[in-house]
């Protein structure tokens, strides 16, 4: 049942998007010209493609994000059962978070969080 609900919501969103564009496509003017099709660059002629290799700094953030996001997946079940679990689970989770904090601290010291 829930899966069906998610599916209907997904489809509604997509149909809404397609519908909006389709209505626009039906009534909008079509006047093509070479200049209009050019990539916008504040006026001057376009210089080269934008599909280039880009700075690696973003990749470091993405790696850090993956590590911590996986952590949160483990934290949620623990948080739901937090009141029922005893002291043992609490201390164990503190150790788990502590290891990750050490990781963050290491990344910080290595300068991974500095924007250069």
């Amino acid at each position: 049942m829930t899966g069906m609900a998610v599916f209907i919501f997904l489809m509604t969103g997509i149909i809404f998007g397609i519908g909006g564009l389709a209505v626009s496509f039906l009534i909008h003017p079509r006047r093509k010209s070479a200049v209009k099709g050019e990539t916008y660059e504040c006026g001057p002629p376009t210089q080269g493609p934008a599909w280039v290799r880009f700075r690696a700094q973003y990749f470091v953030y993405a790696l850090l994000f993956v590590i911590f996001d996986v952590e949160t997946i483990y934290l949620y079940p623990w948080a739901v059962k937090f009141n029922k679990l005893g002291m043992f689970a609490f201390i164990e989770m503190i150790i788990f978070i502590f290891i990750l904090v050490v990781g963050l601290w290491y990344a910080w010291k290595k300068g991974a969080l500095e924007w250069r």
Binding site: T12, H28, G37, D69, T72, W115
Partner: protein, 349 residues
């Protein structure tokens, strides 16, 4: 008044039940009715919010804002939308055409999907999902990918920069957001939105988790790409970020998605921290869903107030603040919450 929408839903369900169709089909029709209602609600609210934003901006800057089209300028947004629909959708010759059109089609989907679990009032969530909070966090973060599709497919340098910044910013601020909500989950021990609201009967979580609320709010502003975190579309540096090449309806859909996201973050803030449909001071004469809307609009007004008061931050400040302040702070918040719950437990609360 309290149950008006629940009653309407019930009578529609009876009406379909008369036809004697299989229950699965009935359920599908009910969900379709609900999603249509939510869609109408979102679109009408977005229209109103664009107008409200311009009015608020106007009054903050000591001017009137839109006041020509219709009474007090109320029809301004409708005029804008009809203009945008009738404008040509220009696809740049260098762009990846399929992905370029796919982004505006999909951009509205994640926020709409999340509205499935939002409890608009008592028993008024479209689907009362038992993992509501998790669903919200998981689906809402899909927006990042779609912004990136838009940025990459345009084949434009501003779009590329904007897309990169969207990804960096949204993943950096998602972590504190997820970790801040964890504090609430630890107290309530449930991921169901309605149960979380019911747990706030005696004390709203904004008082039990003030730090978490602050972190959630800051991260929420960043997730919506709004000032002071609007580097992704910073007009004065990268034109409009990922939307640079979009015109007409494509741009309108991105705009709609932005306001839907603002609404969504406000709804979640009201549900998780401001007591949802619960009436403060015992003012139950105003129905629950109206209280929900009042709280949401207070949050939205805060968003707008921020936007027209603060300047934009720099990109190094943005990333530094996210990783060096918010993430450690939210981890500390989890730790302190855990210790506090255990200590209060031992004291016999």
């Amino acid at each position: 008044m309290e149950n008006i929408f629940v009653n309407i839903s019930g009578s529609i369900r009876e009406l379909i039940g008369v036809l004697g169709l299989p229950p699965l089909f009935n359920e599908a029709v009910m969900i379709t009715v609900k999603v249509t209602g939510i869609l109408l609600f979102i679109v009408l609210n977005a229209l109103w919010l664009v107008y409200m934003e311009r009015k608020v901006a106007g009054y903050i800057q000591c001017r009137y804002g839109p006041n020509r089209v219709g009474p007090k300028g109320l029809l301004q947004t409708a005029a804008d939308i009809s203009k945008l629909i009738s404008k040509e959708i220009i696809i740049p010759s260098g762009a990846d055409k399929i992905l370029f059109l796919l982004a505006p089609v999909l951009i509205f989907t994640p926020p709409l999907m999340v509205f499935m679990v939002v409890p608009f009032g008592q028993n008024m969530a479209a689907v009362d999902l038992n993992i509501g909070v998790f669903y919200f966090l998981a689906v809402a973060s899909l927006s990042t990918v779609i912004f990136w599709i838009a940025g990459w497919a345009s084949n434009n340098k501003y779009s590329l920069l904007g897309g990169m910044r969207v990804v960096a910013q949204m993943i950096s601020y998602e972590l504190p957001m997820v970790l801040a909500v964890l504090g609430v989950v630890m107290i309530t021990g449930t991921l169901n939105m309605s149960d979380i609201v019911r747990a706030q009967e005696n004390l709203w979580f904004i008082f039990a988790q003030p730090v978490a609320f602050l972190i959630y709010f800051i991260a929420g502003v960043a997730e919506c790409n709004r000032v002071p975190f609007d580097l992704t579309e910073g007009e004065s540096e990268i034109v409009a970020g990922p939307f640079t090449e979009y015109s007409g309806m494509g741009f309108a859909l991105f705009f709609l998605a932005e306001y839907t996201n603002v609404m969504l973050v406000s709804f979640m803030a009201a549900t998780l921290f401001l007591g949802g449909w619960l009436a403060p001071f015992g003012l139950t004469i105003i129905p629950g869903w109206a209280w929900m809307l009042i709280k949401v609009y207070i949050m939205i007004f805060l968003f707008m107030w921020l936007r027209w008061t603060y300047p934009r931050v720099r990109v190094d400040q943005l990333m530094g603040f996210g990783w060096k302040v918010l993430v450690p702070l939210s981890l500390a918040n989890i730790f302190i919450t855990g210790v506090a719950i255990k200590v209060l437990d031992k004291m016999g609360w």
